[in-house]
């Protein structure tokens, strides 16, 4: 490393150090003996900056929390089947040669080397299953459409029991908004007191609302993935050696299509349990209820499908709370979460 480089690095460092600190010179209050007038002047300017910050975060809040106003639309969101059909046709076309090959080979085996009756029977069974699967594969768009329609209708029917469409305080959206809105309000107050006073709370509600948005979008994409892979799944499922993988894929397909039912149940659960809590113990703090309902919304699908490992919920809670102070990575937290969402796969459901 020659001298110039070192000098360059030093100079650049010297030039950037104030830039790094300029950020906290902005809101810094020193202990100098200042007159009240001066402090008033300073506080006016700082107030402008803080108010601006709060304004921006308010915009972000309305941006992210808009999901609570449209819960029904978000929950019953499904990819339009017409988009999927063409791609599925492509995959069917991709799979059919394999099927034909399999059928031809099996029938050739039947015709030419038919040694033991057991082998014949086996081959016949394979042939039958292949043809059956071939039919299923060519019907797969229909099946997917059936599944998606069924699940969205079911979740819609469940949500008809609730007043999710209204944005009143006792609707699920209102309750969930209560949880994050409380923190958001507190963030405003702390920010007015000190510029970076409320960053943790900001990150907390950011995390929760982002997880909600992201999980729903992720489910949307995964439904697309598994439904366009449905022919492949059927192929894998129909061959004996790859049956286990086919089973896993099928399980994933069903799981991700029916997660929305879990969310609908979560909505029902949130509203009815809040009403029940009002009766059982009036005056239960609303902020905690809202926070709990956020967790409920995220975890009820896995609970309902027996996929929930309760330790992981505890770990999640602790993670979220712990990740708040590290001002890095509310978003990395979300992606961790979403990844876990995707990979979650419990032995309990393997024998479906």
């Amino acid at each position: 490393m020659d001298k110039h480089k070192i000098i360059t690095v030093l100079v650049i460092a010297a030039f950037f150090m104030p830039i790094i600190y300029a950020d906290d010179t902005a809101g810094e209050d020193s202990l100098e003996a200042k007159s009240f007038a001066k402090v008033l002047g300073e506080e006016a300017v700082k107030g402008i900056s803080k108010g601006w910050m709060i304004w921006m975060c308010q915009d972000l809040y309305t941006f992210l929390s808009s999901i609570t106003g449209h819960l029904r639309e978000y929950i019953i969101a499904n990819p339009p089947i017409d988009d999927l059909k063409g791609v599925q046709g492509f995959f069917i076309a991709l799979m059919q040669p394999f099927f034909v090959l399999g059928i031809v080979l099996t029938s050739a085996y039947l015709l030419l080397y038919s040694e033991s009756p057991r082998g014949r029977a086996k081959a016949k069974a394979v042939l039958v299953r292949l043809v059956y699967a071939l039919v299923l594969v060519s019907l797969s768009p229909l099946i997917i459409m059936l599944l998606i329609t069924f699940s969205s209708n079911l979740s819609g029917a469940i949500m008809d029991y609730t007043n999710v469409d209204s944005t009143s305080a006792d609707s699920a959206g209102g309750i969930i908004e209560e949880g994050s809105g409380h923190m958001h309000h507190m963030f405003d107050v702390l920010t007015i007191i000190h510029r970076t006073g409320g960053v943790e709370l900001l990150l907390l509600w950011e995390t929760f609302l982002l997880i909600m948005n992201f999980v729903i979008a992720m489910r949307y994409l995964l439904v697309i993935l598994w439904s366009i892979m449905f022919p492949v799944t059927l192929l894998l499922f129909s061959f004996t050696p790859t049956k286990s993988i086919g089973k896993k894929f099928l399980h994933q397909t069903f799981l991700w299509i029916f997660v929305q039912v879990g969310w609908a149940i979560a909505v029902l659960l949130i509203e009815s349990s809040v009403r029940g809590m009002d009766i059982a113990m009036p005056g239960y703090p609303m902020a905690k209820i809202g926070l709990a309902c956020l967790f409920l919304f995220l975890t009820t699908p896995r609970v309902v499908f027996g996929l929930m490992d309760w330790l992981s919920l505890g770990v999640e809670v602790v993670e979220i709370v712990n990740a708040a102070p590290l001002s890095m990575g509310a978003l990395t937290m979300d992606e961790m979460k979403v990844e876990r969402e995707v990979i979650v796969e419990e032995p309990a459901l393997d024998n479906l």
Binding site: D23, E42, V45, A217, M328, T332, I343
Partner: protein
């Protein structure tokens, strides 16, 4: 860096300090409250509006905006090439041809060959001389048969690998061509530019509250490349041990290890298809944009000034204070496009791991 730039930087620092020195000396009249207030306001706003905000905006727009144009858009522009790239073992005219892998494969072949010969010779000797019981002979014969067959595959392994690579590439290209590039670009840009917009919006007021989005920019821009690069590395590794895997697979006692190696080889090679599947899914995910009616779909702009949106409507750059082309408003981002775009990137990262988790123990 050149000399003159260093000099420029040094002079810049010196000038900043010198220019600020009078501030340190100047004092308002201690008996005039108005002057005091004015001084306080002036100092604070000097710190805030002349030092902090310009620096942050300089950071966001002068440093991060070109970064976005180059790095942020990089994967969106090159996803096809990046995903379809494959090493080639035999075809020396191919782009990804690398003799290193070929040599490694042939080295591992030459490593295992003597064992094969030894095993075959021993089995033959057993059949010829130590002809024990009938079933022993049968067993030995079966073993011999399996050995010979596996030896054929073993010596053909570069060819098999090449075939697998070519088929995976063709399948992936077939899948990825189904995707509509416009949709893919729309969705992915919705994700990364959405984070950038939020980063700009929050980051001008305070960098600390926008660090998460700033980090997410790097994650989105680089992690897909990292996943693809990991696929390449693992693929080369397993190509090298592939012959050994075949050899172990043919021996009864080491069947498990051999199965693992073969499975991993196949999965890592055909991960390409799943990555392109993810791209296809992303292009189909564009329909998420129309989940809500456009008027109910909340938007967010990087308009930082209270008047920013007004300025936009008047057609003036909302964040501009220098008229530099980079300071124009980036336009609104909607929650749907942001969510689905971020999840598109997450999908690119998650799908390979999901498949690695799902695809195991599929070989007999």
């Amino acid at each position: 860096m050149k000399e003159n730039r260093i000099i420029i930087l040094i002079t810049a620092v010196a000038l900043v300090c010198l220019a600020c020195a009078p501030f340190a000396i100047a004092e308002a009249d201690p008996l005039d409250p108005i002057a005091q207030a004015a001084e306080g306001a002036a100092e604070a706003s000097a710190k805030y509006f002349i030092v902090a905000i310009p620096i942050r905006m300089w950071f966001q727009y002068e440093m991060m905006y070109p970064w976005m144009l180059s790095y942020g858009e990089s994967f969106i522009n090159n996803y096809k090439e990046a995903i379809l790239a494959n090493p080639s073992l035999l075809d020396s005219s191919a782009k990804g041809y690398n003799p290193g892998i070929t040599n490694a494969v042939s080295y591992s072949i030459s490593l295992m060959l003597p064992f094969y010969i030894l095993a075959i010779v021993l089995t033959g000797a057993y059949i010829m001389f130590i002809s024990g019981s009938i079933e022993g002979r049968v067993k030995a014969k079966n073993l011999l048969k399996r050995l010979v067959v596996s030896m054929i595959f073993f010596s053909m392994s570069p060819l098999i690998l090449e075939t697998m690579l070519v088929t995976s590439q063709s399948i992936s290209s077939a899948i990825i061509n189904q995707a509509d590039p416009a949709n893919v670009r729309m969705v992915l840009e919705g994700g990364i530019w959405g984070s950038y917009v939020i980063f700009c919006k929050l980051g001008v007021t305070d960098l600390e509250i926008s660090i998460a989005y700033w980090t997410s920019l790097y994650v989105m821009a680089w992690l897909p490349y990292m996943v693809i690069g990991m696929r390449h590395i693992m693929m080369c590794l397993f190509c090298m041990v592939f012959p050994i895997g075949i050899a172990l697979y043919s021996f009864v006692y080491m069947r498990d290890i051999g199965r693992k190696i073969l499975e991993q080889t196949i999965v890592w090679i055909y991960l390409q298809a799943f990555l392109s599947m993810a791209i296809l899914v992303i292009s189909l995910g564009a329909s998420y944009y129309y989940l809500l009616p456009a008027d109910q779909n909340p938007k967010l702009t990087n308009a930082i000034m209270p008047l920013g949106s007004l300025g936009e409507s008047l057609g003036m750059p909302s964040t501009g204070y220098q008229g530099s082309p980079a300071y124009v408003s980036l336009g609104p981002t909607s929650i749907l496009s942001y969510a689905v775009g971020s999840m598109g990137y997450a999908l690119l990262i998650a799908v390979p791991f999901m498949m690695l988790r799902l695809l195991n123990k599929f070989l007999p």
